[in-house]
Assembly symmetry: C2
Homo-oligomer: 350 residues x 2
DNA sequence: ATAACTTATGGTTGCGCAATCATCTGTATG
DNA sequence: CATACAGATGATTGCGCAACCATAAGTTAT
């Protein structure tokens, strides 16, 4: 039993700022009858310690309820076992799926994650990064490829692995895991043209990657002789409301579109709801194309055509790339650039 | 041997495994022409340093690009400025809203958050807690009031503030911020009875709090003479699919219900989708009651009746309660128990 | 039998910082 | 004019751990 611990707690809780969970390597070492450093090894590199000693240490750890102090360990070893992850929001399934998968896989390798929610703002990203770098994370995951100058400078001088996710570009900071938003825009345009649509509209939020997709979409449409693409844009984040509002705006004008391309499934869902409210038939009166293929897209009625992206897979790919980099302590600067691709999903709505 | 130490440092900076982001308080102090401890004070308690010195230090910090090492700071001060937050998932808006609000407010006070995603499992909660306690968080936020024995023991011996959120109970570990799920169940029953419904069904996931609501609902219905409440239950987490499947199962039986009470808006949305697919009229053929009032509930077609809970508000309340506890360094053990309440939202669907 | 290893363990040191106590200056108090 | 006191700064120490080097005991090769 943790007689010592219980004892300490009772008494120390009154006197000083001694944290209650105060058992240290030394306490464990005393109980186990070995030196502190042997305890450290037993916990961190059990393969170099004899089975017999290992067993003694394990028992002692359980007895005193020892929990290693990672602040001290990190300070001494210069390894925090922390990964900083920056996303615009966790309210969208792509990002929350990615975060969950990433945290899961990193967790299995003994890394914990600290989340920074940037709200689609590079300024917020910059200030969060400043705070989080103080924890000396072992790696950093960012969303997108647009960052402030100070952010870039700090990342460079921190000297740790950096992942940019959800986009591709020509001059990544380090590791890149994403897909081409321009390719998505172009593919959506071709696909819908092929299905015979000619009057297009876009309902979108104004985040950087959505803008890229829209530009590519419009370019391709123009190239195929379709001009006059109406665009309704809202500030991020996207909710159903933007979708309903978007369709309302478009429907109040003459020259109504045949198909609406949405910057996310959430917006598309809003468009579907507004269409239902107006008694419009999908896709006869209005066709709708989403983006993201969130799990509910197939379950909506009518089922939503979309662009499939697998957030969890992106998270897993990031985790593997990072772990490989982190475990090759020798400077393995092999450039990593992963195109996660996308897939057009043709359902009822478009 | 203070001189030696300083000396060593000068020389070791070239020969050893010095991290790239290697500027320290001492470097800043040299540039500023003050002692290291003055730099520390300038950063942490600027009010005790003269304006002139403050300015010198600020310039020096900028010049060397100094970022304080919180591992070292935490080790020395026994304050990590970290809060651990455990939620079942971030894929549901209640939790993601709470997390975002909580992180925001704590961030403003200089605290960062580390997230643990438990997947509705007390075992996962236990193992995550073990790992995260190593970071010596200054506080811990948990979801629900059910925890393993080891979890409880570790929380007690850690001696830090603990918040249990999203539920109420009679023997909280420490701070409690939530609402009564039984009260919700009862209120929903009364409300729907009052609207004249008599044939009830429940589509639910099996998490602890949903089970509580269902029990209370059924109890109240029984008390009012309504028996034979059909329940369809799925394992968490909830998606639209469970809702569609739930309605399908209920519709395949004789004695179809008039109203379906769902354990979340997501499930309710699935029920609505399946109803639309089957051409059922809402609420004439089947009425639907959600839970959570996520932002899209009002935007759905038909608009979803639900139980409003404000995740962001819960997060904010937790943050205030915690910050107050954290800032009163003297053992302020005032019990905190906040009932966040809920509100029935009557829309079209039920 | 000696050298050359290998395996298991311990001693010492310093990571970067804040707590604590000490010092020094200048100003108010009687 | 001496004492007290507040304001500003510095010196020393140790937080808990892992890196590094040293040592002791056993093993194999020659």
């Amino acid at each position: 039993m943790p007689i010592n611990t219980a004892d300490n707690k009772d008494k120390s809780s009154r006197d000083q700022r001694h944290q209650a969970s105060g058992s240290t390597l030394i306490d464990v070492a005393k109980v186990a009858g070995v030196s502190p450093i042997t305890v450290s090894r037993a916990l961190n590199r059990p393969e170099v310690v004899s089975d017999q000693t290992l067993e003694k240490v394990r028992r002692a750890v359980a007895e005193v309820g020892y929990i290693p102090n990672m602040l001290a360990g990190g300070l001494a070893s210069k390894q925090s076992k922390l990964v900083a992850v920056f996303v615009p929001t966790i309210a969208h399934s792509l990002f929350s799926d990615m975060v969950q998968a990433l945290m899961d896989q990193l967790g299995e390798a003994g890394y914990q994650s600290i989340l920074g929610i940037t709200g689609y703002s590079v300024e917020k990203e910059e200030s969060l990064l400043g705070a989080i770098l103080g924890r000396r994370p072992d790696a950093i995951v960012l969303t997108g490829t647009e960052h402030s100058a100070l952010t870039r400078q700090r990342l460079a001088s921190s000297g740790i692995p950096v992942v940019e996710a959800w986009d591709l570009c020509d001059d990544p900071i380090d590791i890149l895991v994403g897909f081409s938003h321009r390719a998505v825009g172009k593919a959506v345009a071709s696909h819908l043209l092929e299905k015979g649509y000619r009057r297009f509209a876009v309902v979108s939020v104004s985040d950087a990657r959505a803008v890229k997709r829209n530009e590519a979409l419009v370019n391709e449409l123009n190239a195929q002789g379709v001009t006059d693409v109406r665009q309704v844009t809202f500030p991020a984040p996207a909710t159903l409301k933007e979708g309903r509002e978007g369709l309302s705006q478009l429907w109040s004008q003459e020259a109504r579109p045949e198909v609406i391309v949405c910057s996310s499934d959430t917006i598309a869902q809003g468009v579907l709801a507004e269409a239902a409210a107006r008694g419009l038939k999908i896709p006869e009166d209005i066709a709708v194309m989403g983006f993201g293929d969130m799990s509910s897209a197939a379950q909506l009625y009518p089922a939503l055509s979309s662009v499939r992206l697998d957030g969890a897979r992106v998270g897993a790919l990031i985790a593997s790339a990072l772990l490989q980099r982190l475990q090759n302590r020798d400077d393995d600067r092999t450039p990593v650039r992963i195109d996660t691709g996308f897939e057009l999903i043709d359902r009822v709505s478009a």
